[in-house]
C-alpha cells in the first residue's frame, strides 16, 4: 500500500443534511497515490469536492472517513511540509512582496539569520521573474504578478508536497499561459511533488504526469487516473502537435461532458457502494496507447465495482 510517497485511502466527506437523516456525501471512496516528484492534476465539475480533497491534504479540513498518509505518517493538521497556493493568492496585503516571502521563509527556518532569509527569498522572487517589484504591496501588482508571488512563497518553503487550488483560475488567458510556462520551468528545475486542481483540460495536459478525473457530486468518486505520456520538457506551442495530445484531450473532454455524470448515476443507484472501501481504485488509463477501447473497459470495470 505505502509504496507511494502520498497515499489517500478511502477518503470521504459528508455534511449533516438539514431535514434529512442521511448526511450529504460530497465524495467518497477516494483512493489514490502520488509518487515523489510527480505532477498530478485533478479535474472534475464544480461541487465534486476537489477543493475539499486539497484542503484535507493541506490539513485545513477534516475528512469524514479515510486517511491521508504521507511518508508513512498520517496527515493531521497543516504543516510546512505541505505548501499551498490558494486560488485567490492569499497574500498578506499589509506586507510588501518581499515581506510576504520572508514571512514564509522565516516560518520554515526560524533559526536563519536575516541575511540568509533575505537571500533565499530574493532567489525565489527572481525565479518567478519578480525582482524589481519586491517593495511593492500586493495591491500594486497585477493578478498575474500576485499569483507569481504566491507561487514563489510556496516554492521558497521547499515543501515535500505542493498543493495548488486552481492557481490560474482568476487570470486572463494570456497571463495564464505565461505563468504556466514559468511553473513548468520551475518544476523542471526542482521536481517538486505537486497536486493541483484545475478546470482547464489543456493546462492539465501541459503540466501533469497524471490526471485524476472525478465524477459529479454528490457521491463523487475519483474514477480514472489518466497518464499523460508526453515526454518532457514540454512547451505550450509544441505539445499540441504531439500525436498523443488530442487522444488525451478527447478522452478528458469526453469524460467531463458525458461520463462524469453517467458514472455518478450508476454509482448512486448501486447501493452496495455505500460502504467505505479501500479497494476501489481509479481505473488507470493511457489514452495514447489504449485508444478507443478505454470507454468500454472503464465501464465494465466500474460495473464490477
Amino acid at each position: 500500500m505505502s509504496n507511494h510517497f502520498l497515499e489517500v485511502q478511502g477518503l470521504a466527506k459528508r455534511y449533516p443534511n438539514p431535514g434529512s437523516e442521511q448526511d450529504l456525501t460530497v465524495f467518497e471512496n477516494a483512493n489514490f497515490g502520488i509518487n515523489k516528484g510527480e505532477f498530478v492534476c485533478i479535474i472534475g465539475h464544480s461541487g465534486c469536492g476537489k477543493s475539499t480533497i486539497l484542503n484535507i491534504l493541506a490539513g485545513l479540513d477534516e475528512a469524514s472517513d479515510g486517511a491521508v498518509i504521507m511518508n508513512d505518517k498520517e496527515v493531521i493538521g497543516p504543516s510546512l511540509d505541505r505548501g499551498v497556493v490558494f486560488q485567490n493568492y492569499s497574500l498578506l496585503p499589509w506586507r510588501s512582496t518581499l515581506k510576504n516571502i520572508t514571512f514564509a521563509v522565516q516560518a520554515r527556518w526560524p533559526n536563519w539569520s536575516k541575511e540568509q532569509v533575505l537571500e533565499h527569498s530574493m532567489k525565489f522572487l527572481e525565479l518567478v521573474g519578480l525582482n524589481g517589484v519586491e517593495h511593492r504591496k500586493p495591491s500594486q501588482l497585477s493578478g498575474g504578478m500576485r499569483q507569481r508571488v504566491s507561487i514563489a512563497r510556496a516554492f521558497a518553503t521547499q515543501p515535500q508536497l505542493l498543493l495548488m487550488d486552481e492557481p490560474f483560475g482568476a487570470l486572463d488567458a494570456l497571463t495564464r499561459g505565461l505563468i504556466q510556462e514559468e511553473l513548468l520551468k520551475i518544476w523542471e528545475e526542482t521536481h517538486q511533488t505537486v497536486f493541483m486542481i484545475t478546470h482547464d483540460v489543456d493546462e492539465a495536459i501541459l503540466l501533469s504526469d497524471r490526471i485524476l478525473l472525478m465524477t459529479n457530486g454528490p457521491h463523487a468518486q475519483v474514477a480514472e487516473s489518466v497518464s499523460v505520456s508526453i515526454p518532457r520538457p514540454r512547451n505550450r506551442t509544441d505539445i499540441i502537435h504531439h500525436p498523443a495530445y488530442y487522444k488525451i484531450r478527447n478522452h478528458l473532454v469526453d469524460f467531463l461532458v458525458n461520463r462524469s455524470k453517467e458514472l455518478n448515476d450508476s454509482a448512486a443507484s448501486d447501493t452496495t457502494n455505500k460502504a467505505v472501501s479501500y479497494d476501489i481504485h481509479p481505473v488507470v488509463v493511457d489514452p495514447a496507447i489504449d485508444g478507443n477501447e478505454t470507454e468500454q473497459q472503464t465501464q465494465s470495470k466500474q460495473a464490477a465495482i
Partner: protein, 276 residues
C-alpha cells in the same frame, strides 16, 4: 480640477463664516437708550438691563488675550486656557490609555473565541448603554478622589467602542489569511501578532477614534461635576462668573481640541491601513 474645487470650497467656507459672524454681530448691538434715564438707572451707572449674548468681536478679542498668555496661573479660579485644556487632555488620555489596555486584549479574546463571545456578550450589551456620568457617584464613593473618578468615567466610556471594534475586526479577519498562518505552522501567539493584529488594525483604530471622540464629549460634563480644573470646569466657572464671552471662547476651544484629537487618530490609522 480638484485643487480649484478645494479653493472654491475654502472661499465658500469663509463667506459663510463672515455672513454668520455679521448677523451675530448685527443682532447684538446694545440698543442706545433714547428715553431719559431714571434716577435708579443713573445710580446703577446707566447700564442696560437687557442681557445680551456678547458679539463675536468681543469673543475674538478675548480669544486673542487668552491665547497670547495661555499658561498663566493666578490661583484656583483663574488659570490660563492652556492649563485648563491640559488638565482635560491629561484625564482623557490617561482614561483612554487604561481603556485600551483592557479593551484590546478582551476584544481579541471575544473576537477569537466564539465561546467567550457568547459568554461576555450579555455583560457588554448591558454595560455599554449606561451613560458614563451615571458611574460618577459610585466612582466617587469607591475611589474617594474626584480626579481619579473623572479618569474612571473616561475609562469606562472609552472601553466599549474599542472593545466592540476589536472583537469585530478580529472575528472578521479573512479565513484565507488565517489559513496562510496555519499552513505556515504559526502558533496562536504568532498568528495573533503577525496576521490577526495587522489585519484587524484598521478596524481597531476606527474603534479608538470613536472612543477618543466620546471621551472628549464626556470629559466636559464630568469636569462640570467634579470641578477644580479642566475645560469643563472652566466653562461652568465662567458661567457662574456671568462671563459669557469666556464661555463662548471655551466652547470654541473644546471644538478645536476635539478636532485635533480626531485628526491625530486619523493620522495613526492611515499608518495601519492597507489595500486589498
Amino acid at each position: 480640477m480638484i485643487a480649484s474645487q478645494r479653493f472654491k470650497a475654502t472661499v465658500l467656507s469663509v463667506v459663510m463664516l463672515l455672513i454668520f459672524l455679521g448677523i451675530w454681530e448685527g443682532l447684538n448691538i446694545a440698543p442706545t437708550d433714547t428715553a431719559p434715564k431714571s434716577e435708579y438707572e443713573l445710580l446703577m451707572g446707566g447700564a442696560s438691563q437687557e442681557a445680551r449674548v456678547p458679539p463675536p468681536s468681543a469673543v475674538i478679542k478675548r480669544a486673542f488675550e487668552e491665547l497670547s498668555n495661555p499658561f498663566y496661573d493666578a490661583g484656583p479660579n483663574d488659570k490660563g486656557i492652556g492649563i485648563q485644556l491640559g488638565y482635560s487632555l491629561y484625564r482623557v488620555l490617561t482614561g483612554f490609555f487604561f481603556a485600551a489596555l483592557v479593551a484590546l486584549p478582551i476584544g481579541f479574546l471575544v473576537g477569537m473565541s466564539p465561546l467567550m463571545h457568547k459568554a461576555l456578550d450579555p455583560f457588554i450589551q448591558v454595560l455599554r448603554p449606561i451613560s458614563p456620568l451615571a458611574w460618577m457617584p459610585l466612582a466617587l464613593f469607591i475611589i474617594q478622589d474626584s480626579e481619579a473618578s473623572a479618569i474612571f468615567v473616561i475609562f469606562i466610556c472609552s472601553i466599549w467602542p474599542m472593545l466592540i471594534n476589536t472583537a469585530f475586526g478580529v472575528a472578521n479577519v479573512r479565513q484565507d489569511w488565517i489559513n496562510v498562518a496555519r499552513t505556515h505552522e504559526l502558533g496562536s501567539f504568532k498568528t495573533a501578532l503577525q496576521v490577526i493584529l495587522p489585519a484587524a488594525a484598521p478596524t481597531i483604530l476606527t474603534g479608538m477614534r470613536i472612543s477618543i471622540g466620546i471621551a472628549w464629549l464626556v470629559i466636559v460634563a464630568a469636569e462640570m461635576l467634579v470641578g477644580g480644573t479642566g475645560i469643563g470646569y472652566y466653562v461652568w466657572n465662567e458661567w457662574n462668573n456671568l462671563d459669557l464671552i469666556s464661555v463662548i471662547f471655551s466652547i470654541l476651544m473644546i471644538g478645536i481640541v476635539g478636532m485635533m484629537l480626531d485628526l491625530a487618530l486619523g493620522r495613526i490609522s492611515r499608518l495601519v491601513e492597507y489595500e486589498e
